[in-house]
Symmetry: C2
Subunit: 384 residues, 2 copies
């Protein structure tokens, strides 16, 4: 893996569907989104046979900016820059990578803060409830728009993994392979409960104002929700190692309610950074989409049946210390795929990093993923 | 265990120390609490030799009302009524049981909502920071007041267990035995983090008003803190069994942000009940006391050394699915006691109930505790 290779300066692209009153995007609920704006980025070149396209799907608070920089002076690269680039796991010398901001997101695609053409005001809480299936259907529209018939791979972690799996159910012949990392076929009641408390924190903030805010945003509520979520992304072990019960340096020794413990300063920092980049209403809608996600909701809870039409080969990866999307959740999916005699590789990676491992343990998962994709690509080339 | 036997109607008692300007209660911080009011209840009779006294210590949101009813029409009995009474585990036909509300509590003992004699206003956030050690020292004052020289047992779960262990360190010859259930020698960084987020929820509520509230209390913030804490009291398994992903009956089928899932209705209910009975400022102070608790903070982290002077025999109980006060935390204490050649019985009980098991698994822990106490009582009688 050539770590220092970068895709360089990348461009944000966007497409608007149904702008002229035609081709409305009908959500699972039956409600309509028109126009439907999607923001996306691409890296590498689509080959002539169009058989080298990989769809990368971001997690809850991610965006379309998966690799490279927007300007030379950008301090931060895209969220999966260590995996996407020339010679990297998702090798842009060989593959064409697409990443789009999910619908309901707050990073360029249509979402609660977009203008509702009917009212010329922000949607806010009038934005329709959307689902993981809706996110996938928006990506499918983008796929058609780019005249891609079949993905070489669809890959995502966490909520991105949910979407990758939903692709396998809704468009069973649309991808050669599915790579689902640190994910689940549905959220556990414990995870639903954490989401509930996070949303309560946001909706209790008077600045949330039923979703109608402008300059004064529900900063405290959103920060509290993020801090809570952040705990669930770490593991008890990683917190022990990273912070223990150590006290912060900048504080006085007297015990009080300020940030005495390092773990408290860390959380406060994470909460503050988050409110600068993420919209509270989007957070409400997207966590709700995750709550309602259930891969087998159309097959009476039968996961194998839900996945039975899929023509893809699967790679599933989980992490031992991930308690939000536990290895047991991945194993359920693996068992269902095996019952269908579907080709599936499963790795449960030993890691202390909790759910965050899916972004941290790049060096460990990189060879697994690149081998898997390269094999699929070779198979495709050999056949065609 | 005779389940239906009750201690009957019980009386709340209280004592005020330092009312006349003498005998101030000096906190670990050096600050003074004067007067010091403690509310307590007792069950059973202290015998002539005064060797049948058991101190029962409540958890974070508990109170002195451990058994019986205050009036005939009381719907609810005390919080450990299934354990305390004639013929029960803490057999009031044999033993004298004392339970007092901790300092800083909001159920009769002095706390942030008490009147500061210096200002004739509520202390609120002017209440001094107190520690688990301070709670224990207040109980010690009560012990002296009641002219009890030695407890037969000191027993507590969760924060009550922390205090029981602190007794062993601070007053090593004051109890024949210590029973510490579902507890730890210090909070893990994960638990500190959850406490932090809970307090942030309270302190972000504008009705908290820097702790100065009267009729309009920081209801939403306190409910959010409680809901969050409640998740940590259950286990993923118990939530799976109790709620799964089942939907509530009272709601429509359309997906929205209201209480669609049963687990959400449950949490909302728990949050609402809590704000009716517990004070927000007390919650801040008591969780902070738990954060700072470290049994070995005066022995450079050496737990064995901290406990080396104790003359007590120990019973430690943990529960397999308790992830807030995990079995590993109890094992640390057991190892330290064994290094000291201290007599210790340790049971790690198989349970799905998470941290709440310490209140739920009464039938399982009852024989362990009653055997342990009865043996200690027999030893005392045989010797004397």
């Amino acid at each position: 893996m050539k770590k220092n290779n970068s895709v360089g300066i990348v461009e944000q692209k966007s497409v608007v569907f149904g702008e002229n009153g035609d081709d409305p995007f009908i959500l699972e609920s039956g409600k309509k989104l028109q126009p439907l704006t999607l923001l996306y980025e691409t890296y590498g070149e689509l080959n002539e046979k169009k058989n080298n396209a990989i769809l990368v799907i971001h997690a809850l608070t991610g965006n379309a900016h998966a690799a490279g920089r927007h300007t030379q002076s950008d301090k931060k690269t895209g969220w999966w820059d260590d995996m996407i680039g020339p010679g990297k796991t998702f090798d842009t010398d060989k593959y064409f990578i697409l990443c789009s901001n999910c619908i309901g997101g707050c990073s360029g695609s249509i979402g609660p803060r977009s203008i509702n053409p009917k009212t010329n005001k922000r949607y806010n809480m009038d934005f329709p409830i959307f689902t993981i299936t809706d996110m996938v259907r928006a990506q499918y529209k983008l796929m058609q728009y780019l005249t891609i018939d079949k993905w070489l791979a669809i890959v995502g972690g966490s909520m991105g993994g949910m979407q990758a799996l939903q692709w396998a159910v809704d468009y069973p012949d649309s991808s050669v392979s599915i790579i689902a990392i640190a994910t689940a076929s549905s959220l556990s009641p414990q995870a639903i409960a954490f989401d509930w408390v996070g949303r309560e924190a946001i909706m209790s903030d008077p600045n949330w104002n039923n979703g109608n805010y402008e300059d004064i945003i529900p900063e405290k509520g959103l920060a509290t929700a993020r801090m809570l979520a952040h705990i669930t992304y770490l593991s008890d072990k990683s917190m022990d190692i990273k912070f223990g019960r150590r006290m912060g340096n900048s504080e006085t020794n007297s015990k009080n309610f300020t940030k005495n413990f390092q773990v408290e300063s860390y959380l406060a920092y994470q909460g503050q950074r988050f409110v600068e980049r993420f919209d509270a209403n989007s957070y409400l809608y997207i966590t709700r989409a995750m709550d309602f996600f259930d891969l087998s909701n159309k097959t009476n809870g039968d996961l194998a049946s839900a996945l039975s039409s899929s023509e893809s080969k699967f790679l599933l990866i989980s992490f031992t210390s991930d308690w939000l999307f536990s290895p047991e959740e991945s194993k359920k999916i693996v068992h269902a795929l095996r019952r269908n005699n579907t080709d599936v590789v499963y790795c449960n990676i030993e890691s202390n990093c909790g759910h965050d491992a899916f972004l941290i343990e790049s060096e460990t998962i990189s060879p697994l993923i690149s081998d898997f994709i390269n094999c699929r690509y070779k198979e495709e080339k050999d056949v065609k």
